[in-house]
Point group: C2
Chain length 258, copies 2
């Protein structure tokens, strides 16, 4: 039997350490195709490129060795998944992996995340997908704990599958492996970014702004959320769906607005 | 009593006809601040700008007359909402409006939509928000039916409010007003883009790609979806929430994966 086909992408770009770490997890499990952005695309969410042409560049000396095929793309993480699945591959992949992201995608971060948008894009085409993130933003983060834990989740996704159009949002606390207590299946915490702008003046007197902010957990006492799991030494796994309908609000609108 | 404060943005850019149409709806209802992208940002979803500085440019002769204050921003629709709410305004707006988008944001399009991401961004800060879209992609689309219908929804949102972190995804069929049958509160239809890439060669022999695709409704027989409403002559109104957890899949994972 042929090994499963795994498509890998990320949002930190083809040169990111987290991408190389994810390739190392996937290589023993399957045949690997990588299509990742040329540059970093953090915070690009589900953006697609329609106004400029997309290009692919095959890497001649991929780090992963001969068995890994690697392409860089000038588009977004979602463009990478679309191009990989509809142009580069003749068959549907068995699994799409995204990451390992340098930084958290738990709670409301899922909405802004290019890593998770790429995973969701794959799930919309009926392919199980997992986005991995490590709660360490540094370019030189130590991904060894994710490498130790990720293989089991990947094997389970290949063995048991995922529900229709579901992908997994996996976040790993920035702890040494021996301090990680296990894996929690949980829901997305309700949290907000409390933001402001750092206002500056350029040398010509023009004003410009940098976004800055601080994440706040709106339900610090809830014990079934990804934020709780991560704060308490667990890996969080949240199943993510594309249906954004609020069914509770829908009932209220039908009652009160009609 | 002071008139309500309404912040308006869009994803088709400050010059789009749909933005001007939305300003016309809002002007009789409230005080209006517009912060819209300098250029079109369709398909940019919930992208935020963190790697380049943001700038604001106040329009000296806004189309809306003296009572409308207009800014163009070099960022995404979500950047516009963040800058408007945290930098330009001293008080929380009573309502944020986004659009009127040139083209549908029903069904899975909500995931890619900059229009709806802007509305959702406002709702995350506790401000009720509505994204309006007309099912006509032409730059010169006739927005008069949205103008006739939109005021009532805006008034209801101001009067009754919306649930915590909820925004509305309002889509209007491309029909003359007298052929529109009414407003349906509904859920997001399950649909997919069946996509391919148009591959071309540049004058130097380099390959490049354009995304192309066709939307497909995966549940054409369901009568409670936005796609059904729009195909049957109704305006669709879907309440959108930020929680993307699949609770059904979460129960299955806890049972089968743990």
């Amino acid at each position: 039997m042929q090994k499963p086909l795994i498509l890998i992408t990320n949002d930190d770009g083809i040169r990111a350490k987290g991408l190389r770490a994810l390739i190392e997890i996937a290589k023993p499990i399957g045949r690997v195709l990588v299509v990742a952005p040329e540059e970093g695309h953090s915070g690009e969410s589900h953006a697609i490129t329609t106004q400029t042409p997309l290009r692919l560049r095959q890497l001649q000396e991929p780090d992963g060795g001969d068995e890994v095929i690697m392409y860089a793309c000038n588009g977004t993480p979602v463009d990478c998944v679309k191009l990989g699945m509809t142009h580069l591959l003749d068959e549907q992949p068995d699994l799409v992996l995204s990451g390992i992201n340098h930084g958290s995608n738990a709670s409301i971060n899922v909405v802004y995340s290019g890593t998770m948008a790429a995973a969701q894009e794959a799930s919309l085409s009926g392919t199980p997908a997992i986005g991995f993130s490590l709660l360490d933003y540094s370019p030189d983060a130590d991904f060894s704990s994710v490498q130790a834990i990720g293989g089991d989740l990947i094997s389970k996704a290949l063995k048991f599958g995922l529900g229709n159009e579901i992908c997994l949002n996996v976040n790993v606390p920035a702890l040494p492996l021996q301090e990680i207590k296990g894996v929690k299946f949980c829901r997305q915490a309700n949290g907000t970014w409390e933001e402001g702008y750092d206002q500056r003046a350029d040398p010509y007197g023009g004003k410009y702004f940098w976004l800055s902010g601080r994440y706040s957990n709106n339900e610090p006492d809830a014990t079934d959320t990804d934020e709780w799991a991560l704060s308490n030494g667990y890996v969080s796994v949240v199943p993510v769906q594309p249906d954004m309908t609020s069914y509770k609000e829908l009932e209220r609108l039908k009652r009160e607005w009609q």
